[in-house]
């Protein structure tokens, strides 16, 4: 490049991509949890899961509206699967309640640690966003920890199901700590936190919950990466088909 940009200039494309990553994580997990509505084991849990879902969809709204210059709906409902930038963990099927809670513990612990640091970003929007969202996510982390502990240290069947739930989701954890060129550009400008800095803290936090749940941590598996580049599992297309059907079929619908 003939004209190298100064280090503090905001890299517009990288910032846009980062907003999509954060926004799509929240949007897709929110949609996934919404699938439980009316199907949870008991009414109280139904409400809990819908609450988590609505928190996440609220976060997605802020992030995608910032990314889409005010039009978040266009990004949420009129993008195809290859353009989504969420991590693979959030698009994994709900499975049973144990697998959903295993996924939520693994994701919300990461998201909580990330948002704590994002609240000290050099980007004003991200500071305002993360300062508010970090409280929601702290609750998500506590609630999912409580359930992992109760199911792990519950009956033989609940422990078995939680073990299987953790095993299913475990291979998608390394992606959360992956740093590519886009993310590195934002880390250099102190816009994004470097997830590698809190990977040890994350691993110990998860280990502490699993110890309290009297569960063995899953054995490390071959990591699966690619969500941040749009290489998704087969599951995301199905999520989008349900989520995007209405606005795409009736583009002018209002309610």
């Amino acid at each position: 490049m003939a004209t190298a940009s100064p280090v503090d200039a905001p890299p517009v494309d990288a910032r846009h991509d980062y907003l999509l990553r954060l926004g799509d994580d929240s949007l897709i997990l929110g949609q996934r949890l919404g699938e439980w509505c009316g199907h949870a084991p008991v009414l109280e849990v139904d409400l809990s899961l819908a609450n988590l879902s609505l928190d996440l969809i609220g976060q997605a709204t802020h992030l995608l509206e910032e990314a889409g210059a005010g039009d978040g709906d266009k990004l949420a409902f009129h993008r195809d699967v290859l353009d989504f930038r969420n991590c693979l963990l959030v698009e994994q099927p709900n499975g049973d309640f144990a697998r959903t809670m295993a996924r939520h513990l693994l994701f919300s612990t990461w998201q909580h640690m990330l948002f704590q640091r994002l609240a000290r970003s050099s980007d004003r929007f991200l500071v305002e966003f993360a300062s508010k969202a970090v409280k929601e996510v702290a609750y998500h982390r506590e609630l999912s920890s409580e359930w992992v502990i109760r199911l792990g240290d519950g009956t033989e069947e609940s422990a078995q199901r939680m073990t299987e739930g953790l095993d299913w989701n475990w291979r998608f954890v390394p992606e959360l700590f992956e740093v590519d060129e886009t993310l590195q550009a934002l880390i250099d400008r102190r816009i994004a936190p470097d997830p590698r800095e809190f990977e040890d803290e994350y691993r110990s936090a998860i280990a502490a919950v699993l110890a309290e749940a009297k569960l063995e941590g899953p054995a490390d598996q071959r990591p699966i990466l690619g969500g941040r580049r749009g290489h998704h599992s087969e599951h995301l297309g199905h999520v989008l088909a349900v989520m995007q059907f209405l606005p795409r079929t009736y583009p002018d619908a209002t309610w």
Binding site: P41, L43, E44, V45, L47, N51, R150
Partner: protein
């Protein structure tokens, strides 16, 4: 599953200075989750600043059969009501 879980009565303080008021009940396996279920069920729209949960089994209730002897004697004693005083407008929640 919820049939195995005990019932908890939920009391919510809606803002500082007011008493906790009975809001309803939730099923939960233990006290900690009862608080979370109460939060998710009854304070989603900013209704509260504090929650109590109490095992329903710990509530001692009066017997509806005794309603007559417990409550009816108060019905015709108008002098027990402080209705003969003027309450200043700024006194609330009395």
């Amino acid at each position: 599953m919820s049939h195995d879980w005990p019932l908890w009565e939920v009391f919510v303080r809606t803002k500082g200075g007011l008493s906790h008021r009975h809001f309803g009940s939730v099923h939960a396996p233990d006290a900690e989750l009862a608080l979370r279920h109460a939060r998710d069920t009854y304070t989603r729209r900013q209704e509260g600043v504090s929650i109590w949960v109490v095992p329903s089994a710990a509530i001692v209730a009066s017997d509806p059969e005794q309603a007559g002897e417990l409550f009816e004697p108060a019905a015709d004693k108008i002098y027990r009501h402080p209705t003969f005083y003027d309450i200043p407008d700024e006194v609330k929640h009395i």
